[in-house]
Symmetry: D2
Subunit: 347 residues, 4 copies
Amino acid sequence: MTIDVAVAGASGYAGGELLRLLLSHPDVRIGALTAGGNAGSLLGEHHPHLVPLADRSLEETRADVLAGHDVVFLALPHGHSAELAGSLGESTVVIDMGADHRLTDPDAWQRWYGGTHPGTWPYGLPELPLAGDTRQRDRLRHAGQVAVPGCYPTGGSLALAPALRAGLVERHVTVTSVTGTSGAGKSLKPHLLGSEVMGSTSAYGVGGAHRHTPEFVQNLGAAAGDTVGVSFTPVLAPMPRGILTTATAPLRGEVDAATARSVYEDTYKNEPFVRLLPEGSWPATAATLGSNHVHLQVTVDPDARVLVVIGAIDNLTKGTAGGAVQCMNLALGLEETVGLPVAGVAP
Amino acid sequence: MTIDVAVAGASGYAGGELLRLLLSHPDVRIGALTAGGNAGSLLGEHHPHLVPLADRSLEETRADVLAGHDVVFLALPHGHSAELAGSLGESTVVIDMGADHRLTDPDAWQRWYGGTHPGTWPYGLPELPLAGDTRQRDRLRHAGQVAVPGCYPTGGSLALAPALRAGLVERHVTVTSVTGTSGAGKSLKPHLLGSEVMGSTSAYGVGGAHRHTPEFVQNLGAAAGDTVGVSFTPVLAPMPRGILTTATAPLRGEVDAATARSVYEDTYKNEPFVRLLPEGSWPATAATLGSNHVHLQVTVDPDARVLVVIGAIDNLTKGTAGGAVQCMNLALGLEETVGLPVAGVAP
Amino acid sequence: MTIDVAVAGASGYAGGELLRLLLSHPDVRIGALTAGGNAGSLLGEHHPHLVPLADRSLEETRADVLAGHDVVFLALPHGHSAELAGSLGESTVVIDMGADHRLTDPDAWQRWYGGTHPGTWPYGLPELPLAGDTRQRDRLRHAGQVAVPGCYPTGGSLALAPALRAGLVERHVTVTSVTGTSGAGKSLKPHLLGSEVMGSTSAYGVGGAHRHTPEFVQNLGAAAGDTVGVSFTPVLAPMPRGILTTATAPLRGEVDAATARSVYEDTYKNEPFVRLLPEGSWPATAATLGSNHVHLQVTVDPDARVLVVIGAIDNLTKGTAGGAVQCMNLALGLEETVGLPVAGVAP
Amino acid sequence: MTIDVAVAGASGYAGGELLRLLLSHPDVRIGALTAGGNAGSLLGEHHPHLVPLADRSLEETRADVLAGHDVVFLALPHGHSAELAGSLGESTVVIDMGADHRLTDPDAWQRWYGGTHPGTWPYGLPELPLAGDTRQRDRLRHAGQVAVPGCYPTGGSLALAPALRAGLVERHVTVTSVTGTSGAGKSLKPHLLGSEVMGSTSAYGVGGAHRHTPEFVQNLGAAAGDTVGVSFTPVLAPMPRGILTTATAPLRGEVDAATARSVYEDTYKNEPFVRLLPEGSWPATAATLGSNHVHLQVTVDPDARVLVVIGAIDNLTKGTAGGAVQCMNLALGLEETVGLPVAGVAP
């Protein structure tokens, strides 16, 4: 079986990571590569690390260029996916790595992104445990369209969902996520210059202002079966990749560390891409670099009476492109893990 | 006026930063420099950046070497300060940059450090607002002995104390502090190697296990005038210096961002080393590098109903050696700011 | 075909990278993993990124543990390979990633490492062009024992050998190689601490003092067919991986950039792991991260009358473990490229 | 004595570092601050680390704004200084941190920068030893206009000039300089993004293409008293600041390390900002961070028969703004060292 794949937005970081993974996927043939302003240039100018594709030309992101492939990945700024997807025909599986189809609530879309809600697609976080003992995976098998989660909600939702679903904690949580710079893409902004970033850590989008907040609310609410209040603060650290999430929530009644751990073990014991670390080990983002794994550890603070969960992912792999390939595998009925790296690149 | 100063523990990072600052202090003459295992070597072997002192020899850390100075700074592992301080005589001001004399509660000492409580000295965080409209500064003027705060509680306490004192928030708070590696000192541990640290962010001391936790509890309790629960998580980021603190607490009643800001403005408007950033700007650790400033910003998250405060310091300057010099100035009746850098080194 | 492979020295950086690559090799079954001081611990304690092997125990590095595998990789400090290799039997292919069997000249061994010369094995740099229009590859096919090159000579030799073989330059060359910290291994030395490394670049082994110098002399002499003088300076930069080599040599007669380029194109046009970048592009180490590629660019400086070649590799992949797997493939008669990554992990 | 100082180009990195130093200069009053596109904004938006000046407004870079100050520093792109300087009047000392007035040869200007030669000003590298036993310093005392050197030639020229002047080496030299990113300023180019820079080292301007090359040729020729061929390669490393120069030159006759060292000792023994490190120590850029020092070490490679010199500076301090203040001090007849930092900020 050979799957013909096109990638729209191939010159950005998400597109580049996707192509890196697709190069190792045994069933994929890489077809059209498109871009916006970079159309007409060679892929190697943007991604010199992708040697086997370096001489490929970038075409314009248009429906007629993307049509005719088995799968089209969209790595576009928000607002561009709906129209393009509508022109591709039903036989094409569309995996949207942008934000357009993640939110189920039209009012939330209006508030956070503005304009008309482009509609909701199955949310591509297969491991997410849902209230009532199901998984999000069930909605992704043979899906024709998938909305890949944002990078922050990927790791953060998996960190807190088990405790919320099991009722271990109150339904108001605090999430601080330290991210590498590639999450901001290649946008030419002064605060993203190497001179500004190296040696510095800074916060942004503070006070619930980051657009991934409603995605956290949606995911954690689905796990808890009820409304969850989420205080989310993103922090920018001097590294290209990786997200380390510190998630806390007040304990509901008496919960000790062993109980908490057993809930997480039960929840994720069959998940190929979620690793609950051995007791006493804490996640580091470097161990997930280039891998599709989430590393987790959980404990309780008996003095402050809170649950604390630490999660690490690579924002470009599991947080974006790896998650997207995993969803493609599910949508096509392939083995979920095929072509996806299970070892990180460290040190 | 010339102040003769000795430094015990001069070969470590805290000692090195202290000497960098003392070199610029107009009233200080740098006397004996001592070390443990590094006694007998030249200071320049450990601190090649301190050119004017590079040829100075390190003596052994003994009371007879340190005696006879106007001020002795102790930058020693915990447990070594009490006996040494007792041998120095009452005419010597002793500034302890270690943990020995910070905690007021002997049981807390026993629990977190073990052994007999070495006693409590005035806590060297002059800006800390206390319940009842006083400042910690009042206890430091002309003090003969000062316990310099830990690096995490320095920035974190100043971030939350105004809101707790003013009753804006509930008395259970969440603090996630991202630190550079120099906070761990020069200890030769595998996880502190450059290869492990660069490109990686990791958590440690999770679940209330870090020894700075009781210091947070003590400081914030003094600000609130009542017991405060503190969930504290330290995170290690790939930079040599800097601490970025994200502090959240549930709002008590209706509090908007403007109200919160005005409380912080009022609290710190006369503080020479606390800068509340202009609205819309968020702290970055690089702006405080090598400076004695704390940079703060505050807002509220109206959806999650929490106060969020971000604070940035240089862990070695304001967080250790700068705070120590500031305390020396107060103890000697000098202008509090003399010799202390007010501009950071950036980019 | 399944190849049973053992790795001695599995807890170090070279061993870890080797295992990462072997996990993706379709023909390999990973057998015994051994260590020195870390014997008895789990691999995951040292390499949390190698999730599929995290629960494997490290055995002691002994011949009886390693015996019986088709291939044994030795990632040991120098001086330990010869005896061990001698006990493994002739049916086992031994790939030595250490220095023991690289040098052909017993006097050079005596001078640079001391003690008795452990003997010379075929030198594992397949792409090295030799005087007389052969390649080093010819000596590696079906070899029973291979000495993997040092990380610096891997990239540096390929950068200069074509020009020396073609007589474009004089036979005295200058090489400055900027390396990431993982080349120094996990040794607990103060100057390798993250606090010391980040934000700093430093030189070491200056004046021809680095042990890789005789390897450069040997390789470049083999390419030139005559003695070559090599001034080699290693420089430590704040990154975990990567070597960027700047190599210069005085032009012999009139040579322009186009002529130089055509020599390099001809030399490497069929090499699967050497990429001569498009004109105007210069190598960056990030593009080779985790990949087995060497990226090269060449030009001439018409004013200074020198050839300048820039080369980039990942010191742990092509510079150590990837080179080792490539040699294993040749030794076993497999396709040379099988199991080796051709795309880097960037950004 | 109070010196009124204006800074044109205050929002860039060179301007920011200059202001950091001027804040500590005891004789300086900081007057007009101007900018190009950033005129009208507050300095604190661009340099949040300069707290005492954060609320100062940036005016337009015009002669009438700058006129009337005792000293005007120009931190402008090349081509903008000559006209502006001509309008300031003879009573104003002008210190140009740009390239306009460095080169003495109009043809070199035409070749490297294009257009009409703006004229030559005294070259602001006081320590440069010149053929005939003079120093460049002699030309800077009471100068009305000074051309501050480029950052690369600052450290690189001081590294090689003593050996060339003393005839220890042949007059063709090789210089590889590894720089931090701030040397490129705040220009918004993709390859300067943090995501691209961190974890990567790359070369640029290879083959004698960098504009600092003719400055090396000019300086080293002045030291040697004859034409010197210079092969210069700049390399970009993942750090905000610092330049580490590796300079090599073929030995002329028999020269041992001790002889070379004594030449450097003699040359720099009275220089307040040049430190020849103790034997066996090699420069690291971190030790010069924020300091006006050059750290040097010299040796010979007896096998390759070359002299090797390693030099470290902070490109923004000694390499730009510190050098500029040093020149101001000389021009005004002040003590040369006043207001300049002699200790670095490390780790």
